[in-house]
């Protein structure tokens, strides 16, 4: 099918028109453009850049200093047990920002602008997630560095380190997608701010992040066992210490897929349908 060529009488000419629905190539291109936009904002605004970098340092030092003398675990120093939990806690604290950024965009004229462009609409979400992946990646490196100074050791060498970073990024993205969908459901920025951070308190604490599951109150234990934060923390510990990996890795992979795919599809639909 060919279309009549539109010659704009305006300040220029529109020669032909792009294929109707942006394909995968356009999705990739536009996602990179959106990711570039968010990263450029981070680069150009010291205030926005400093908090994602400061947060992991702060919570590592604080949690380790406060909790260390209170607890002990069998099979090694508590620090070695606690730090992977804090790494996941950091991811959990960062993920809501993804959702909030999206709903903030939806609230401004920028969302209308994007929707009125012949761009891939999914790119708004995918691009944001890409830029968040960069943030999670840098945070993971910072955490590993600070953890090393605090005495945390990765006994499995480079593969273990790569694994830890990969898990932090993947889990962060999966949670980020979920948050994006929730934020778009809520729509109101202020409500979303509260609602998105709230579930993460139980999510982070009812888990094996700070204590082994069998040391939690009895009624919490079944919840803690299925909590994705527990499996993520377990995977990080196994990666650092070289312990058995398969069961928790499988559980984490399943969680990551569920948290990313279902809300991801719903979030993109929601974004497209927004008034």
């Amino acid at each position: 099918m060919t279309d009549a060529r539109i010659t704009a009488a305006g300040p220029g000419r529109i020669v032909g028109w792009r294929s109707e629905r942006p394909g995968a190539g356009r999705l990739a291109r536009d996602s990179l453009l959106i990711a570039g936009r968010h990263l450029r904002v981070l680069r150009g605004n010291l205030g926005r850049l400093i908090y994602p970098l400061l947060q992991p340092v702060l919570i590592l030092v604080l949690f380790v200093s406060v909790l260390e003398n209170l607890a002990s675990v069998s099979g090694g120093p508590y620090r070695q047990f606690l730090i992977p939990g804090i790494m996941i806690e950091n991811v959990v604290l960062t993920a809501p920002i993804t959702g909030l950024a999206l709903v903030r965009d939806a609230d401004t004229g920028l969302a209308d602008r994007f929707r009125s462009l012949p761009m891939s609409r999914s790119a708004v979400l995918v691009g944001r997630l890409l830029s968040d992946a960069v943030v999670f990646f840098v945070q993971a490196l910072v955490m590993i560095g600070v953890s090393y100074l605090l005495g945390f050791r990765v006994h499995t060498g480079l593969p273990g380190l790569v694994g830890i970073v990969a898990v932090a990024v993947a889990f962060g993205i999966a949670l980020g997608v979920t948050c994006a969908w929730l934020a778009l459901l809520i729509r109101d920025v202020e409500t979303a701010e509260r609602a998105l951070f709230f579930p993460f308190i139980p999510l982070a604490f009812v888990s094996s992040a700070y204590a082994p599951v069998d040391r939690l109150a009895g009624w919490l234990q079944p919840l803690a066992r299925v909590n994705p934060v527990s499996s993520a923390a377990a995977v990080l510990r196994a990666l650092a210490d070289g312990g058995p990996l398969a069961a928790s890795a499988l559980q984490l992979a399943a969680w990551t897929a569920v948290l990313a795919i279902v809300p991801g599809v719903l979030a993109v639909r929601r974004w497209q349908a927004s008034p």
Binding site: D3, A4, P11, I14, I34, G44, G109, R113, S116
Partner: protein, 327 residues
């Protein structure tokens, strides 16, 4: 396939209806805009202007009716529509945290331009809208007028065949308004087709080639500004009394003014008289009031206000054209 006749029209809307919940925002709108025209969509708040604009820009789907933009159906081929329009909404579509230049380049690239072309156009447009010096600064530091100009520049990055502007001058100070109008006039001279919404009759009057009056979700009148003014009725004389005594003043005028042409507002001490005889009405009014010793604080002759024009247009057209543009 798009045949040449359909492509000739920039906007062709037929019987467009849209409801939100139980509220009917548009109740069968017909709208035709020919290429090269600056068309104004005039109406008060809540008339349905923004709803119609959002349907044209593929941001909303209409419930009923067909809409074609440059021959492309907005429901069937939204991406084809998006590739030929530019939209300047009521709220600036900009990333506040980014410099003006980066905003332009980003929007240009998302519209499909290559990197070099996007940068080139961003520089050209920044220059043209007097933003070259500020292009490297983040939009957060821009004044309201600069934001509007940048927003307009962003809408022009893909060189749209149709530029849609939703209340472009609302909230601007008079200076910025003049600047924006100068930019729009320049675009019109270059031949860009534009549809803009406004609440201001004077604005539509001064700049638009065609004016469509939207009220309660229906186009109640359409034509050139001159057509509408003729239909909206004569000018009016406004009298503000120095003291009380509106009733006495009305009594004094009774000899020369038909009761239906005289409106008295006792509380605000104001008389409004339809100036059937133009300036003569003003002079007669002043003489009669003076003869009866009624002190006048202010007396002016003016165009009918938008409210008055609406009243005249609605009553003038009822029964003959219940809906749709008479063109």
């Amino acid at each position: 396939m798009t045949n040449a006749d359909e492509a000739e029209l920039a906007i062709e809307a037929r019987g467009v209806e849209k409801s939100f919940g139980g509220v009917q925002a548009l109740r069968g709108v017909d709208l035709t805009v020919r290429p090269g025209m600056l068309a104004a969509l005039l109406g008060p708040n809540g008339a349905g202007k923004t709803t119609l604009v959002r349907i044209l820009a593929t941001l909303l789907r209409q419930d009923c009716g067909t809409v074609r933009v440059l021959g492309r159906d907005v429901l069937a081929r939204p991406y084809a529509v998006r590739s030929v329009i530019g939209l300047t909404g009521q709220y600036a579509g900009l990333d506040e945290a980014l410099p003006g230049r980066d905003n332009l380049v980003l929007i240009g690239r998302l519209a499909g331009l290559g990197r070099r072309l996007a940068r080139q156009r961003a520089a050209d447009l920044a220059e043209r809208f007097g933003l070259a010096a500020a292009a490297g600064r983040s939009v957060r530091t821009y004044s309201c007028g600069m934001r509007r100009r940048l927003d307009l520049a962003a809408s022009l990055m893909n060189r749209p065949a149709l530029l849609i502007l939703d209340e472009p001058t609302t909230g601007l100070d008079p200076g910025s308004r003049v600047e924006l109008w100068a930019a729009l006039r320049e675009l019109r001279e270059a031949g860009t087709t534009m549809l803009l919404t406004t609440q201001y009759l004077e604005e539509a009057d001064r700049f638009a080639d065609a004016v469509h009056v939207l009220d309660h979700g229906v186009i109640i009148a359409a034509g050139t500004a001159a057509d509408l003014k003729a239909r909206a009725g004569a000018q009016v004389v406004d009298v503000l009394l120095a003291g009380q005594g509106a009733a006495a003043a009305a009594e004094a005028l009774r000899a020369s003014v038909a009761p239906s042409d005289l409106h008295v507002d006792e509380a605000s001490r104001r008389l409004t008289i339809v100036a059937r005889d133009g300036l003569t009405t003003l002079l007669t009014t002043a003489k009669l009031l003076e003869a009866d010793g009624i002190a006048v604080a202010d007396i002016v002759m003016r165009q009918p206000s938008l409210d008055e024009a609406f009243l005249a247009l609605t009553s003038g057209i009822s029964g003959t054209q219940p809906s749709g543009a008479p063109r």
